[in-house]
Amino acid sequence: MDDKRARFEAQVLPHLDAAYRFARWLCRSSLEADDVVQDAFLRAYRGFETLRGGDVKAWLFTIVRNCHATAVQQHKRRATVPLPEEGDQAMQSVLASGPGPEGASVAADDQRTLERLMAALPAEQREALLLRELEEMSYREIATVTQVPIGTVMSRLARARAALRGEWQRQVAGESRAVR
């Protein structure tokens, strides 16, 4: 058993930072991310024997993702008022805790922050983009984590990138009009 703990600490625990980064994007608050990640590591530890030399990081991320889905389900069941659909408001708390109380001029800038744009993406596109650009996962790994075929990963990535590109172009166009 000590051996299992030692192997787990050597193989899985080093991916804690990455798992937390991922959870932080999935969850509405850092508190929720803490809970999801802790739950995920406990589940990973319990299921560690089922991992036979596979891709540790993708395996762990799959568990984080499932834990998040479970947490969302539980929240929905408990809530008397239905929660808004995931996505649009997911990054609100990050923005609130991010730039600080600089005032209304910053609030206008918030409209343009990358977080805002990311939050506007459909959840499955945002997820694919984050796993590729931030976690640098391969298509196969992203397909494993998000449990869709590789072709779906490719089209989600393409759409997410095109959407961001379009937003940025619109911003640039808007700014040049405002200057004139």
Binding site: P14, R132, E133, L134, E135, E136, Y139, R161, R165, W168
Partner: protein, 272 residues
Amino acid sequence: MPCAEALRVQAYFDGELDALGALEVERHSEHCPECRALLEQLGQTRERLRGELEFAAAPAHLRASIARALDAEDAGTADAGAVAGLQRPRAPARVSARARTRPFWLGALSGLGGALAAGLLLFLLVPARPGAILDELVGAHVRSLMPEHLTDVVSTDRHTVKPWFAGHADVSPVVVDFTAQGYRLVGGRADYFDRQRVAALVYQHGAHMINVFTWVAGRRALPELATRSGYHIACWQLGNLQNCAVSDTGWDELQGLVRLLRAAGEGEAPPG
């Protein structure tokens, strides 16, 4: 209308195509202005995303509470050990303790010819098997990520880092900062394995740290590419020096740094 090749161009950009596929996409984009533009846009999007995306390391209290949760889990299973044994009908409950301590392969081995067994043992006893070295590399990389362990000399200036190694490692690695290409030189560190003082260079790429280890090459060649515990390892030799880059970056991203270091090393190496 986007070109029908757009998804393949994206796959090329993400380093997902084999050499043949990559060549086809390169040929195609020579004649397709749309795909050329797409490649450029993909590059810009990536640069901006990786430059601006914010990320945080796991807080210390989370690390601690996970450790506590695992402790509790260990304690729980120890108490329930006997029960767990009963619940699993396939567990070899009647195997004696003496038999269990015998490695399972010993029985199989005794059946083989003596010469073969001796040869196999000799093979196993040769020190520093590639697998063992790869495990050590990943271990050294993971240790380096612990707080305060990353670097002994913090500097993005190669003229500070390179001389530092002269007194702290048995080799003098290639030291170049590639911030412009997305690989920021964070500093250097000395490690000890394979009975040598090994030089470790630390680069940051987005959210990922990359350790580049350099030591005097042994007789046994290391695989060019390997993955251990979710970490990618890329190995290459330059003269008599063995280099290995270890990280949880993507393959393409890790090999990007390897290409830069190889080119820099070949430029630096004395002729002959």
